[in-house]
Amino acid sequence: MRRPTRTLTVSLIAALALAAPAAAGARALLIDGSTSVFPLMTQLAAAYHKATKAPTPKINQGTSDVGVSDVAAGRVDIGDVSRNPEEGDPKGLVFTKIARDGVCMITNPKNPISNLNQQTVQAIFTGDVREWSEVPGAKISGPIDLVDRIASSGTQAAFQDIFLGESLKISPSAEAEESNGLVQNKVKTDENAIGFVSFAFTSGVNPVGYQGIPCTLQNAKSGQYQGVRNFWMVTKGAPKGPAKKFIEWIVSSKNATARKIINSEWIAVH
C-alpha cells in the first residue's frame, strides 16, 4: 500500500501547487446586474464577439444592486445598472452611460387603460386607491393587484424616482417579483393586476400612457414620454483591459452595429 499512497500524495501536492497561481488567460468578461439591461447586453455581447472575435462576455442577472455590489467586490468585471448612481453605492465606482430606456406601466389586455395622470398613478401605487372602480378609464371592476419588484431592482428605483417622486413609496402590500419577465407574466395572467416594466417587456400586455402621452419607443426617443431612465455599465475605477475594450466598443460613435441594436428597443445616447 505504500507506493499508491505516495503517488497519491505527490499528485495531490502537485495539483494544489497548480491551484496556487491563477493564470490570467484569455478569460471572458463577467457581467451581471439589472434584469432590464439583460436583453440589451446579451445582444451587444453576441455582436461584440462576432465583430472582434474576443470571447463572448458572460452575462448573468440579479438586479441592479447586485451588479453594483458584485463589481465593487470584484466578483464581476462590469455591472449593469438601470438606475442612476445613489449615495448608498460603494465608493470608487465609475458609471458609463450606454443607453436610455423607457419604463412603462402595464395592465392586463382585459383592462386596456390608455392613460393615467400623475396623481392617479401615485394614488394607485402607494395604495391609497384599492379598487379599479375608482380609477378613471379602467375597464374592469375589482380590487387592484399591485405588482412591484424586489428591493434591489433598479427598475423599481427608477420608477419610484420618476413616477412617485422623492417622498412617496410603493405600498408594502404589493407583490414583489424577481424580474421584468415575471412582472410581465403576472400582469398577463391576472386581469386585476398593474405593474411596471422596462420597455422591452411589453408584449402581450397593455402599456399605459402617462400624462397623456402613450408609452411607445417613438415618444420615448422624442422626449415626450417622461418615464425614461438611464442604463449604465459600472466598473471599479476607470475601465481597464478587456472591460475597457468592450465598453468603448459599445459607446463608440462610429459603431453602427451597436447603435442599431440599441435603437431597436432602447434609446441610443452616443
Binding site: 380590487p143 434591489s152 402590500s173
Partner: protein, 339 residues
C-alpha cells in the same frame, strides 16, 4: 483529558498493551476524525453566532418582537448608508417566526396523524401486493428533491388554489393590508405535509414491524379486535419511534427553505387567525425561506448579520428540538420500551 485524547495509551485490547505503532497510529487517526466532527459542529455554532451578534446586539430582545413590515425593514437596510457607523439594523422578526411556527406546526400535526394511519395501513392492513408496491413508493417520495415539490406547487397547485378559493370578495376583505395570491399558507402547509409524511411513515412502519408478535397475538387471544390491538399495544410500544419521527419531521420542516421560498408568498406577512378562513390564504414566509430570498443581498453588511441571526435562531431551535425529543423519550424508558 487532553492527554487521554491524544495518546494511544488507553488502548486495551485482546492484543494487550505494547501494540505495534501502526495500531496506535490507526486509532489516533480515526480518533482525530471523530474529534474533527465535533470541531466542525463547534465551528458552525461559533461562526454563525459571531456573525449574528451585531444584529442581536442592536435590536436586543425586540428582534423577536413584532412591529412593521419585514420587507420594508430589509429595504431600509439595503438602501441605507454604507458606512459602518450608520448601518441600519432595525429588525423585528416576529412575522417570520410566526410563519415558521404556523407552517411547521400545522404540517407536523397533520403529518403525524396521516403518518400514523398510513403506517398502520402499510404494516397491518395492506394486502401483500400493495405492501410490496408501497415500500419503494415511500422511499421514492422521501427522496424527491424539494425543488421539484416547489415547482409543482407554484406551477400547478398555487394557480388552482387562486382560481378556486381566492375570490374578489376575499381579496377585498384584506386588501388594505395584503394582497392574496395562490402562493399562501394553505399551499405551503399542504406541500410541507406531503414532504414530511414519507419519512415519518418509514420510521413508524419500521418500528411497528419490530413489535414482538407475542404481544399482539396475546392481545388478540384476549379477544381484542385488530384495530384496538394496534392502537393499544403496537402504537403504544412504538411511542419512542413516533417521537423520533416527529422530531425528525419538525427538523426537516424547520429547515425547509427552497420549497417554501417558491410557494409560500413573496411578502413576510404575519397571518391573522382572526381573519377566519381568509387566514389560510394569506402569504407567509418562514425564516429559512427568508434567508434564501435575501441571500443575494448578502454583501450589504446589515443584511448579512440579520440573515446570520436568522440562521442562529434555526440552529438553536434544531438543537432544542433534539433535546426535547430526547427528553420525551426518557419517561418511556421506565416501561422497558426500547428507546
Amino acid at each position: 483529558m487532553l492527554k487521554s485524547l491524544l495518546s494511544g495509551r488507553t488502548f486495551r485490547d485482546l492484543l494487550g498493551d505494547g501494540a505495534p505503532a501502526a495500531e496506535r497510529r490507526t486509532e489516533l487517526a480515526l480518533r482525530t476524525l471523530a474529534v474533527g466532527v465535533l470541531v466542525v459542529i463547534l465551528g458552525i455554532a461559533i461562526v454563525v453566532f459571531s456573525k449574528a451578534w451585531p444584529s442581536f446586539s442592536h435590536n436586543g430582545l425586540s428582534w423577536f418582537g413584532s412591529g412593521g413590515d419585514v420587507d420594508t425593514q430589509f429595504e431600509a437596510m439595503i438602501n441605507g448608508p454604507r458606512d459602518p457607523a450608520n448601518y441600519v439594523y432595525h429588525f423585528k422578526a416576529w412575522p417570520l417566526i410566526w410563519a415558521t411556527i404556523l407552517t411547521s406546526g400545522l404540517a407536523v400535526i397533520f403529518g403525524m396523524v396521516i403518518s400514523i394511519l398510513a403506517a398502520v395501513f402499510v404494516v397491518e392492513l395492506a394486502p401483500a401486493r400493495v405492501k410490496r408496491a408501497i415500500d419503494p413508493t415511500i422511499r421514492l417520495l422521501a427522496g424527491v428533491p424539494s425543488v421539484v415539490y416547489g415547482l409543482i406547487g407554484i406551477l400547478a397547485i398555487a394557480p388552482w388554489v387562486e382560481h378556486n378559493f381566492i375570490s374578489q370578495q376575499r381579496k377585498r376583505s384584506v386588501e388594505y393590508v395584503v394582497q392574496l395570491t395562490g402562493a399562501n399558507l394553505s399551499v405551503a402547509v399542504l406541500i410541507l405535509t406531503v414532504m414530511i409524511v414519507p419519512i415519518m411513515v418509514a420510521i413508524i412502519a419500521g418500528a411497528l414491524e419490530s413489535v414482538p408478535r407475542s404481544w399482539t397475538e396475546g392481545s388478540a387471544a384476549l379477544g381484542v379486535n385488530r384495530w384496538r390491538t394496534t392502537w393499544r399495544v403496537s402504537l403504544r410500544t412504538v411511542r419512542p419511534a413516533i417521537v423520533a419521527a416527529a422530531v425528525l419531521a419538525t427538523a426537516r420542516a424547520l429547515g425547509e427553505a427552497i420549497m417554501l421560498a417558491m410557494v409560500a408568498g413573496s411578502r413576510g406577512f404575519s397571518p391573522n387567525p382572526l381573519d377566519g378562513t381568509t387566514f389560510l390564504f394569506e402569504p407567509v414566509r418562514p425564516l429559512a425561506a427568508t434567508i434564501v430570498h435575501y441571500v443575494e443581498d448578502l454583501n450589504v453588511v446589515p443584511v448579512e448579520h440579520t440573515l446570520y441571526a436568522m440562521a442562529a435562531v434555526l440552529l438553536v431551535s434544531c438543537a432544542l428540538l433534539s433535546l426535547a425529543g430526547w427528553a420525551a423519550k426518557q419517561p418511556m424508558k421506565r416501561y422497558g420500551i426500547r428507546t
